[in-house]
């Protein structure tokens, strides 16, 4: 597994952990908005798109951001329509989706390391 291949999964996991810490501790710092928004607007979609395996960068980023917006919005809409509005809960759901997609991607696309039998 190359560094390049792990870059985005590691970044998304780190961002999700930071976002959860900042929100759960209600941190009123300047980094909260950039971290949380970067995670929510990129990571859920990117985790799924990398799992799909689109080769073209422009398509990959378009779909990653559009899918992130859509997943964020759909989770928030479901909460609002079912009178269970809870932004922190929505963040946890989206983190779960992101981590699940990353895990499935890593498991399904795991390549044999040097010396390991395929």
């Amino acid at each position: 597994m190359t560094f390049h291949r792990l870059t985005w999964p590691v970044s998304c996991v780190t961002l999700s952990a930071l976002a959860i810490v900042l929100v759960l501790f209600d941190a009123n710092t300047v980094v909260r908005a950039p971290v949380v928004l970067t995670f929510l607007l990129i990571c859920p979609g990117l985790a799924i798109v990398r799992f799909i395996g689109i080769s073209d960068a422009a398509t990959e980023w378009s779909v990653a951001v559009a899918l992130s917006f859509s997943l964020d919005g759909l989770v928030a809409l479901i909460q609002a329509y079912t009178a269970t509005w809870n932004p922190t809960g929505a963040l946890l759901v989206l983190t779960g989706i992101t981590l699940a997609a990353i895990a499935v991607d890593l498991l399904l696309h795991r390549r044999p390391e040097d010396g390991e039998q395929p």
Binding site: N28, D56, V63, F69, S70, L74, A80
Partner: protein
Amino acid sequence: METRSAGILSRRLLLTRQAARHVVVGATLASVLVALALWAVLLEGVDPGKSSNLGLISALPPAIVVPFGLLLASFAFCIRRMPHNTPILVLHAIALIVMLYGVRGMIEQVPAFKVTWRHIGIADVINRTGEIDPTIDAYFNWPGFFTLFAFLARIAGFSSIEPFAAWAPVFFNLLYLAPLLVIMRTATKDSRVVWVAILTFYLTDWIGQDYLSPQGLAFFLHLVVIALVLRWFTRTDDPDLPDASEVRLKAMLMVVTLVITAFAIPSHQLTPFATVAALAALLLSRRLVARGLPVIITVMTGTWLVLVATDYLTGHQKNVTGGIGDIGGTLTNNVEARITGNVPRLLVLDLRLLTTVVVWLLALFGAWRLHRNRRLDRAFAAVAVSAFPLIALQSYGGEVLLRVYLFTLPFAAFFIASAIFPTPASGRSTATPFVVFVLSVLALVGFAITRYGNERIDYFTPNEVSAIRFVYANAPPTVSSGEGSRRQKFLMLAGSDNLPWKSARYEQCACSTVTNLPGWESMRLVTPNPTPAIKNARDLMRHYERAGAYMIFTRSTKAAVDLIGSSPKGSLANFEVAVARSKYFRRVYANPDAEVFVLSASGRTTGT
């Protein structure tokens, strides 16, 4: 010996060429950075309040043409010399987006455009109540965008979505860039066409639907769906483009497309119809592989209308279906009814109409040139015109023509670029970059006037926002009217509807305008008489007295009346003076840009 010398010479030549290439790339990068820095420096201290009726262009320093000229010259040069250097060209595009769409973010202290403030208020309701009440108004029947941004604001630690507003146009236009690239690249392999089309799109998108709005986000989702479909779900003769033959990949991309559409549908009324129209055009041109996709999206849209947006449809059936087939009425609403105002404003409006017509005509010319060279992709042309039938559905509050322009613009931009480069062999002369540069500068001048021509009424001052916040802070909490659980709203009676209101307590405020009072007609007479409107205002405020009633005048309410010309110039300012002198009203708040009045003791008690 000779061979060795020749080898050294060719190596030196290669090194010189490489060095020259590095110098050229470095120079273009420097141009972009210098242009951005100059732009930022020149905008410092610009006061949008000094805009004339011609718009923001009148308040900008003349030297602002320098950074734009530098960037456009560099862009044209790069398109000619290094059309395949995507990072450099993307950098130019990003700089252009920031410079074209970030002007307001740089110079305005509070977000512009009255509708932005309304959207802030709608998201506030959702964040405050945690629910969606579809009986409030149409926005709560398509609440996707507002719910999303309410969630994003809360989780980012903001009290409202206002912090997102100032730079929303830059943000949305940056989002559009990647799907636009995908769309253009499905249509041509000629990178020059791709980048001239991108340049054209951003220089001619004057309609300003990219503020913090549902349509701004929905257009991005629409572009992504169209990009996905064009790239993965259409039959193509191009061996470089994937035909989605891999079943797993195709299935997953279909799910992704449907998830994106599933969010676009509850976010904006019109956009899903444009998506369906584009897919239908591909289906009719026999290029769509996923033939069921338009049907599925139509069913999803219909399901939302019938099952969720019922409250809106029940009360507004005439609005939804009344305009079907009435193309003449729609065009009147969209063109004639909108072209009103004084001479400079008419110039701005005429230029907007002219830009629209010229863009479509140039696109037609480009399509013709492609056709003549047997390179016209009919499916792409079909998608380009697919939004026009929306005009026959309804006038969309007099805005459908604007929206159709936006939906057609990416494809029109492609055909305009193709007019310059109809074949890979064309446009190779050294004059071509100059042509691209001159056309870009012309488009830029048009953009500056058409895009920012309403600046006098679009921008707001912090003082105006403070006055409105005073009302929200002081209006009593909504009170029970004694009829079960119904609560009476408080009244905000504004000079006209152009002010940053509805940004809080959205569902608790009855908003009305002085210019809609029946007695306002007397202000349009040759000898204006404010008395009938003053009496109307007093009676209306008395009706709301228990819940709270406020009359507000701001700089922007008066500017809108003067600029749009719905009443004689100065009529609202004169009316404000009459209100201040009237015994019925008492001033409770004032700053240089706004005044707020309530009923005086005399106004509360005097008979009719």
